[in-house]
């Protein structure tokens, strides 16, 4: 599903070269729930951004569904980002003026589908994440946990090949976080591939596989549970 082959990411700081990632080779199969752990500055988010086509590797190759993200046109990359990948962020990134239902439907609306067609899909997803009674609420009327559920529903609406989550509960209390992880886990058990960056071992423990980055390299790779098929 996602394949990284000797991937590196280098930044220039004045005359100095800073290697955020070095020589990372990794295969992520369909149905995996991969947790990426590591201290701050270890390259976790950079790795996630490379997988999602939000950043470009300076060395090596990144494949998504067999297509080389490092060697396709910007238009193609944009389409992959929009249709094949669902993103979940720490700060939810919902649009404040839109209702929950409109936020969930946004990726399809941006793709040009009429709201009449998008609406039932958004409603069904809000039901799936337990928020069917919040469809007309705006983000400011929702709790943090509810906002993240809306963001998860939004990430799901295109039927993405993979969900990429960057510290999805970094801003939530322990109990609310657990409910978000149980939701992600149930999606994974239905076959959804998920890659999640976290510094919290309690969060990582929900994954079926955990990798640890250290100073931009892959330090540990362990498979825990069986992968949903």
């Amino acid at each position: 599903m996602i394949e990284l082959n000797k991937v590196g990411r280098m930044y220039r700081q004045g005359n100095r070269e800073v290697h955020a990632l070095k020589d990372i080779s990794l295969m992520i199969g369909k149905g995996e729930f991969l947790s990426i752990m590591g201290p701050s500055g270890s390259g976790k988010s950079t790795l996630l951004n490379l997988m999602g086509g939000l950043d470009q590797a300076t060395a090596g190759e990144v494949f998504m569904d067999g297509r080389p993200l490092h060697a396709i046109s910007d238009n193609e990359l944009t389409l992959i980002r929009r249709r094949r990948i669902g993103y979940i962020f720490q700060f939810f990134n919902l649009l404040p003026l839109l209702t929950a239902e409109e936020n969930v439907g946004l990726p399809l609306l941006l793709d040009g589908l009429p709201f009449s067609e998008v609406r039932p899909k958004a409603a069904a997803l809000l039901r799936q994440v337990g928020l069917h009674d919040r469809s007309e609420h705006r983000p400011e009327q929702l709790s943090g946990g509810e906002m993240q559920r809306v963001a998860i529903a939004r990430a799901l609406i295109t039927g993405p090949a993979v969900i990429l989550a960057d510290e999805p509960t970094g801003n939530l209390d322990s109990h609310t976080s657990e409910e978000i992880f149980l939701l992600l886990r149930s999606l994974n058990e239905e076959g959804q591939t998920i890659v999640m960056v976290t510094h919290d071992p309690k969060a990582a423990a929900y994954g079926t596989r955990i990798i640890t980055l250290k100073d931009g390299t892959l330090a540990e790779d362990m498979v825990i549970g069986e992968t949903a098929s």
Binding site: M37, P39, D200, P201, K202, A204, I210, M222, I224, G225
Partner: protein, 186 residues
């Protein structure tokens, strides 16, 4: 110390024979705390001397009499007081790993850093297993007993998380110390 109160708490629910006490204890807290019959009977002895527990004899045909234990009003009072009192001491620092830390060479930190990594990976694996069991428990059952089980697994997860965070801090401090040494030698 708290074996005494665990037994009192079990007897507060109903009168029991010694072996029933043991199986109830195993059912409720056996997962993280094991007791043998000897400990149970010696604790019951002590509780009787303190007048917190009494026993009746139950006649059995062809077999010796059995003792059936019950909690006294005084026992209930002491149990209630114990339950309501917060625990005053934090967990003891007598983990086997701490002993290793004391004796490992900090001037040549390579082996120690490798050990920290292995220890962290092990805790992480245990946390994964605990999380899987917690999810299975949540799916299988509802009710006060399953909630208690879930909360205890949460406690295990939080403790392991604290250990991992501490191990990460150890690593950072060890590396910083090594770097300082290198710089001062220059």
């Amino acid at each position: 110390m708290s074996i005494k109160y665990a037994l009192l708490a079990i007897l507060a629910e109903r009168d029991l024979h010694g072996y029933e006490l043991k199986s109830s204890f195993d059912h409720k807290v056996g997962e993280f705390w094991s007791l043998n019959y000897g400990q149970i009977y010696s604790t019951l002895d002590r509780l009787e001397k303190e007048a917190l527990v009494t026993h009746d004899r139950e006649m059995q045909e062809k077999r010796p009499d059995r003792k059936i234990f019950s909690i006294t009003p005084q026992g209930r009072e002491e149990l209630a007081e114990w339950l309501a009192t917060p625990v005053g001491k934090i967990r003891a620092l007598r983990d086997e790993f701490f002993i290793k830390l004391v004796f490992m060479d900090k001037d040549d930190p390579g082996p120690l850093l490798a050990l920290l990594d292995k220890q962290k990976a092990l805790y992480l694996k245990q946390m994964s297993k605990l999380t899987q069991r917690k999810m299975a428990l949540k799916k299988a059952a509802q009710g006060p007993d399953s909630l208690t089980g879930e909360l205890l697994m949460d406690a295990g997860l939080f403790h392991a998380e604290a250990d991992i965070r501490w191990l990460t801090l150890c690593e950072a401090k060890l590396k910083a110390a090594v770097d300082r040494k290198k710089t001062s030698k220059r």
